[in-house]
């Protein structure tokens, strides 16, 4: 087994990138992501990682460079946050449509304005429909583990899609905590060298990035949608295989005291940990409540989700981003549509919480989970707004 050490989660993330033996890293500083690429540059400078480390002049070029490098057949990594992702956002759907299996650590931070360097999920929600696999993690260990899991699934020839691993800015990225770093040997077993299906190679020339006439665009989009949905079993497989070598088993929808619960809270990312504490307290007080943590945001795990909420009377969905002018947060909207047509639909209360670094405490969870004074089928509010 590996060795458990205390380390900043950003450093654990960089450690994982090093162990995955990536070929190319494109780096541009943005808070709170910067520690990851700083550490990587140190690895490269000290010869601990053999990779081309390119300090680009913008995130737009960072993603462009990833596309070029991955298309040339190199295992490629980049990391960003917030405005950086917004600047990349023209290219993220291109990376996925060209089927380039890069991995991106997205250290979640709010989108301006007002400028905020602190955490929420507005950045990733702005590229929800980019066609990438999108995963959420809740602690340092999950951050580390998911770099390998992401490459393992992404590089399958049936998948070939970018994976965005979402970790909460500061709350995760800047926290010092124990992380088990795996032995190199195990990692090499789990993650074999990247064997691309096609590359930009003069010995076998291809054209990438042709445009589609109206007679083909629909088919191209259909193919992309089907491919993303079909990546689900490969993610499952990658998690299963990871469990074999690490003993840690991940699932698209994680359950905590959820079996037979009347009320279920739903969270994504690092909120899930604090939420567990809330659930424990409420359980002790006799409330029949459980928690579902949505790990796999895209492709949306419809089956697992429906299985998880079967027989539940009440859902409390916590969003970490506003969808201005909408009927709820982006996660709640997704869940409403996932529930549509289900028998005995539960009621749904949607809270947006933890915007721009606002602390979400155990008490907040207790308040949000408390049964409403008047039962409603659907309710939405921005929690804690004065």
């Amino acid at each position: 087994m590996g060795k458990t050490r205390g380390m900043e989660v950003s450093i654990a993330a960089a450690e994982a990138v090093k162990q995955a033996d990536v070929d190319v890293i494109s780096a541009y500083p943005i808070t709170p992501q910067t520690h990851i690429v700083e550490k990587l540059s140190e690895f490269v400078a000290n010869g601990q990682l053999e990779a081309e480390y390119v300090t680009v002049e913008s995130e737009h070029s960072a993603m462009s460079l990833c596309i070029g490098s991955q298309a040339a057949g190199a295992r490629t990594f980049t990391s960003t946050s917030s405005q950086g992702l917004a600047l990349m956002s023209e290219l993220v759907p291109i990376a996925s449509a060209l089927r380039l299996p890069m991995v991106i650590y997205l250290v979640n931070r709010s989108l301006s304005a007002p400028l905020s360097i602190w955490n929420d999920h507005s950045d990733v929600m702005s590229i929800r429909d980019s066609g990438c696999i999108q995963l959420f993690v809740k602690d340092g260990q999950e951050v580390y583990d998911h770099l390998f899991i992401a490459y393992r699934a992404a590089e399958k020839q049936e998948v070939l899609l970018p994976v965005i691993v979402n970790l909460d800015g500061f709350l995760l990225s800047h926290t010092f905590e124990p992380v088990e770093v795996m032995e190199e040997e195990r990692i090499r077993q789990y993650l074999p060298p990247y064997r691309p299906l096609y590359t930009l190679n003069p010995d076998k020339p291809i054209t990438m990035g042709a445009f589609a006439p109206p007679s083909l665009f629909t088919e191209a989009k259909k193919a992309h949608d089907e491919t993303l949905k079909a990546s689900h079993p490969y993610l499952e497989k990658a998690w299963e295989e990871w469990a074999v070598i690490s003993g840690r088993r991940y699932r698209p929808v994680e359950e905590f005291n959820a079996r037979g619960a009347e009320t279920i809270m739903i969270t994504m990312g690092s909120l899930s940990e604090t939420a567990r504490e809330g659930v424990k307290i409420l359980r002790e007080k006799g409330q029949n409540i459980g928690l579902l943590e949505l790990r796999q945001w895209r492709p949306f795990p419809q089956e697992e989700f429906r299985q998880g909420v079967k027989g539940v009377r009440r859902l409390v969905v916590i969003d970490r981003a506003v969808s201005p002018g909408s009927t709820g947060g982006p996660v709640a909207s997704e869940i409403c549509s996932a529930l549509y047509g289900m028998e005995d639909q539960p009621s749904l209360e949607n809270y947006v919480a933890g915007l721009g670094g606002r602390d979400v405490t155990v008490e907040d969870f207790l308040n949000m989970a408390a049964p409403p004074s008047r039962e409603k089928k659907y309710a939405f509010s921005i929690h804690g707004a004065r």
Partner: protein, 299 residues
């Protein structure tokens, strides 16, 4: 509702034709819509434009598949585009030709209007732009709008000098148009349906029928595959090489945008008419004057 399709080459003003007709109709209190077809094809390539006319408001925003009328701006198109494809039974055809129009009549046409628009355009406009000229022929056969409304539309669209020349061309074309009706028509032997040869050569159509399952990952494409797209269709003139004058310098070959001059074993050059778009650079740049551009024969 009446639906009209215009065929031209990129740069000849097919879209302008459709818009002028629509503008004239709108001036008369009718309802009209004009729209182009969008594609990667450039100047010289066969293109089409569309116009819908009605007495009532029009709510359709779809491609016109079965027009009532087809207007062909360029005589070199008959051989390369299925111009009457989808034309309704007893539909009307308006053509630009210097030939006997009877050769273009087929049994199921409701009427044919023919005019030597290229000649009129050259004489009055001094340019081979036949779009307004063809409108004269169109309204001669089918009084869709008043000639005067078209003239007004032209005046609004262009500066005075250009507008007046176009109006002159429009009126002359109106006068000189020949109309053939089914009654005038004499069946000619050996002339098949005009569509068949055209169908097979319409650019790339055959390649476009993929299901999503057949698409390669990332929509990657095989190299050099535009060779299937024969751009010789775009040509209205072709280079004629004179071996006696040729000094085998190779400038025609290196200056060709379409790699259509082929170096032969004996050092002379030949033209690949599959791709030659007839730009004339080779003729212009030949230091020995060994290349002449000849007009493509129509029909």
């Amino acid at each position: 509702m009446l639906e009209i399709r215009f065929h031209g080459r990129g740069g000849q003003g097919a879209v302008t034709s459709a818009e002028l007709l629509a503008q004239a109709a709108i001036k008369e209190g009718k309802y009209a819509r004009a729209f182009p077809s969008f594609g990667p094809e450039r100047r010289g390539a066969p293109v089409s434009a569309f116009c819908r006319l009605d007495e009532k408001p029009i709510n359709l925003r779809t491609v016109i598949k079965n027009p009532h009328v087809v207007v062909v701006l360029d005589p070199s198109l008959y051989e390369v585009v299925d111009v009457t494809g989808g034309l309704r039974e007893r539909g009307h055809l308006v053509i630009n030709t210097s030939k006997d129009p009877r050769a273009f009549f087929s049994g199921n046409l409701g009427g044919l209007a023919a005019v030597n628009a290229s000649l009129i355009a050259q004489e009055i406009l001094k340019r081979p732009i036949t779009n307004t000229v063809m409108l004269g022929a169109l309204v001669r056969m089918l009084p869709l709008v008043e000639l005067e409304s078209l003239a007004q539309a032209l005046e609004e669209r262009f500066n005075e000098k250009i507008a007046q020349k176009n109006i002159q061309a429009l009126k002359r074309s109106y006068q000189e148009t020949l109309i053939l009706t089914p009654e005038d028509h004499v069946e000619r032997e050996g002339k098949g349906e005009s569509g068949e040869a055209g169908d097979a050569r319409i650019t790339g159509e055959k390649d476009r029928d993929y299901s999503w399952k057949e698409l390669p990952p990332g929509c990657i494409v095989e190299p050099g595959s535009t060779r299937k797209n024969l751009t010789g269709d775009w040509r209205s003139r072709y280079p004629l090489l004179n071996r006696e004058r040729c000094i085998k310098c190779g400038l025609c070959w290196i200056y060709c945008p379409d790699a259509s001059l082929i170096r032969k074993g004996d050092g002379f050059y030949g033209v690949d008419l599959n791709y030659c778009k007839g730009c004339g650079i080779c003729a212009r740049e030949c230091p020995a004057g060994a290349i002449l551009m000849e007009k493509e024969l129509e029909g």
